[in-house]
């Protein structure tokens, strides 16, 4: 009798264990392989780059505006800044053809981490799927930050902290290192969509939401990339490029060229929403471009 009850006990235990272990790990979607960017959203900004002083559609505060107003593009030719890759939040907006691969647990075969590299300078993005905690606030910050992922239905939700200071727009609008990046990666057959938003307590008054898209490219090959900084322009040692407040002569060129009211190009959360068009119609035209002598 004892033997039979032991057998039943073991069978019951095995059943419970089976149910637990046999459950689907989650609705995991495979992102492995090559992806080429569609680049059709915000193409002028992402390709040739934004105009100086164009802050339209960004929910920025005045501190961000001052940083943008005093930014000098010569900053990019400083040796110390030449080899900076795009941070995790901007990488998908740049030259972002990419390759994904996963680490699998040898026992469960579940994905323990996703990795991808975008084309520009090939920074390595790692998304931990093993439930590990984010590091201490005293740990280093990196361009790609520290990312953890979880499945929300068929979407991969990624939370990233520990980012280095980066840029919201490549005309000097900063994104602080205190930001948190939340991303949703959504695959529909051969199309990959990323819906991402950034919360920045230092420079944004509302989260900034952006989307990007890629098409599966099975034959895509990533090429090596090595950046070695060098002096491109002779400058005094410890040169730092910047404009003094009120001295940036290029600041309103964008408004004048595109005939957008000055107030509108200064950005702010209000400029993100469709209702802003009504207000726009009541604003004065920008001044004409100064005639060059």
């Amino acid at each position: 009798m004892v033997k039979i009850s032991r057998i039943f006990g073991f069978a019951f235990f095995a059943l419970i264990a089976t149910l637990l272990v046999g459950l689907p790990a989650s609705a995991q979607v495979d992102f492995s392989g090559g992806w080429v960017t569609k680049n059709h959203e915000d193409a002028p900004e992402r390709g040739p780059g934004p105009d100086i002083g164009d802050y339209t559609g960004l929910p920025i505060n005045n501190d961000a505006r001052v940083r943008g107003d005093t930014w000098d593009a010569s900053m990019l030719e400083m040796v110390e800044h030449e080899c900076e890759p795009h941070p995790a939040d901007y990488g998908p907006r740049g030259p972002s053809n990419m390759r994904w691969w996963g680490d699998t647990d040898p026992f469960t075969k579940g994905v323990t981490a996703w990795h991808y590299q975008v084309a520009y300078l090939l920074p390595l993005r790692t998304i931990y799927m093993d439930g590990r905690p984010h590091p201490s606030e005293n740990a280093p910050h990196t361009w790609q930050g520290f990312s953890t992922g979880e499945w929300v239905g068929d979407m991969l939700k990624v939370t990233t902290t520990h980012l280095k200071e980066g840029w919201t727009r490549r005309n000097g609008i900063p994104r602080s290192e205190q930001s948190t990046l939340i991303e949703f990666y959504i695959r529909h057959h051969d199309l990959l969509t990323l819906v991402a938003y950034v919360e920045d307590p230092v420079y944004l008054t509302e989260p900034l939401i952006r989307t990007s898209d890629w098409v599966a490219a099975p034959g895509f090959q990533q090429y090596p990339s090595v950046c070695i900084p060098s002096n491109e322009v002779s400058r005094p040692k410890s040169y730092v490029a910047y404009h003094l407040p009120g001295k940036n002569e290029f600041l309103y060129e964008f408004a004048s060229r595109r005939n957008v009211p000055i107030e509108a190009v200064r950005g702010g959360a209000e400029t993100m929403y469709p209702e802003y068009r009504n207000k726009l119609a009541t604003m004065p035209d920008p001044p004409p471009l100064p005639v060059k002598k």
Binding site: S136, N138, D154, Q178, Y242
Partner: protein, 385 residues
């Protein structure tokens, strides 16, 4: 859904479950004893009258190798930076600890009233003897634990000719007198001292350096070159930053405070804005990033998180830009109050603890640049246009 990975089937479930209980469960049970970090979970140590207890709830955000201590008044973190170098935060200024096979070097010693805890924290990392202490400045949050740590350490025997070019780890049979050496720039000793019969300006209980250097000093210690550099007239006139060459770590003292504060420049102790910027550039010149302006040589700031070259470059850029803005305002003839009202730090005040240290920074820069203008001095740092 063509792209879903195959779910685990019920047929696989039984053998997997059995395999789990046979193999994985014992392995998981062993993990607690295999990991040093887990080993400490229930540790309760009483040393120097201080209770040390690791609490999982507070410590669950540490990277591998990190240790977290909780004292009655806050959290102390011990993080491995790189090579032989560790950072202790939470006891005043950041404390750098270099641990060799048999000896320890400590850069900065925290606050006086935390000195017991500093020693306890170091002892949580290593029980090896402390041979050298370096003060990066005379500030009390960097020197408070001098006495406690020195008394707990050992001195190199006089006449043994060991400090230069020798690794003390290969010594056997020698007797070491108690009292670790405290090294600092000579100006630190001068400013912590007072003429005979007068009271020293430092708080009671803080001891002065026992050994000083002037321009540069170095030792081969714990298997690597440890080089002390002087940044003249920066945060003070006695600032030292320390390069651990093989580990690839620089401990900066208050020459760099990460996102925690604007530069704290103490003119009454010989500090200046241009010396500060020069000091930052000295450090930047020594750092080599691993790839894409990231990693490589790591930096332990006086306060704040572990950093790398990009972080200190951004800080240098910010300091240079604010200096340039104030210089333009000074040239236009503005008073200090007018300069403050013009908000020369706009764009940066929302970062970390910057707002709290803004006024003293503006005042220090204004004072320096006004003086330079009066004297028709040379002020050529930066490139605003």
């Amino acid at each position: 859904m063509d792209f879903k990975l195959r779910n685990y089937s019920i047929t696989l479930g039984v053998p997997l479950a059995a395999l789990f209980f046979v193999t994985a469960a014992p392995l998981l049970a062993q993990q607690d004893t295999a990991s040093g970090q887990h080993n400490r979970s229930d540790q309760k140590v009483t040393r120097s009258g201080v209770e040390l207890r690791r609490q999982e709830k507070v410590c669950n955000d540490l990277p591998p190798g990190g240790i977290c201590l909780t004292f009655d008044n806050g959290k102390v973190e011990l993080l491995h930076v790189q090579g032989r170098v560790y950072m202790i935060s939470g006891l005043g200024a950041n404390i750098t600890v270099q641990i060799g096979d048999s000896d320890v070097m400590v850069i900065d010693t925290g606050l006086l009233h935390m000195s017991d805890k500093v020693l306890t924290a170091i002892r949580a990392l290593t029980d090896k003897p402390i041979f050298y202490i370096v003060d990066t400045s005379m500030d009390e949050d960097h020197t408070g634990g001098n006495a406690s740590l020195s008394n707990a350490g050992w001195a190199i025997p006089v006449g043994s000719n060991l400090p230069f070019g020798h690794d003390v780890s290969d010594l056997t049979g020698l007797t070491f007198p108690p009292g670790a050496a405290i090294l600092a720039h000579i100006n630190v000793l001068n400013r912590m001292s007072a003429p005979t019969g007068q009271k020293s300006p430092v708080a009671e209980g803080i001891v002065s350096p026992t050994d000083v250097y002037e321009d540069e000093s170095w030792k081969f210690f714990n298997g690597e070159e440890v080089i002390l550099f002087h940044a003249p007239s920066a945060h003070t006139d006695g600032d030292t930053f320390v390069l651990f060459r093989r580990s690839g770590v620089i401990s900066t003292g208050d020459l760099f405070t990460s996102m925690n504060t604007y530069p704290v420049i103490q003119p009454d102790k010989g500090g200046s804005i241009d010396g500060f910027i020069n000091g930052l550039n000295q450090i930047i010149d020594m750092i080599v990033p691993e790839e894409n302006e990231e990693g490589g040589t790591y930096v332990i700031p006086g306060h704040g998180r572990i950093s790398d070259r990009n972080d200190i470059v951004n800080y240098r850029d910010m300091v240079t830009i604010v200096r340039g803005r104030i210089e333009a305002l000074v040239k236009s003839g503005m008073t200090l109050e007018q300069v403050k009202a013009a908000k020369p730090t706009a764009g940066y005040d929302g970062l970390g603890g910057y707002a709290a240290t803004r006024d003293q920074f503006i005042e220090a820069v204004y004072r320096d640049l006004s003086k330079a203008r009066t004297k028709q001095g040379k002020t050529a740092t930066g490139a605003g246009r």
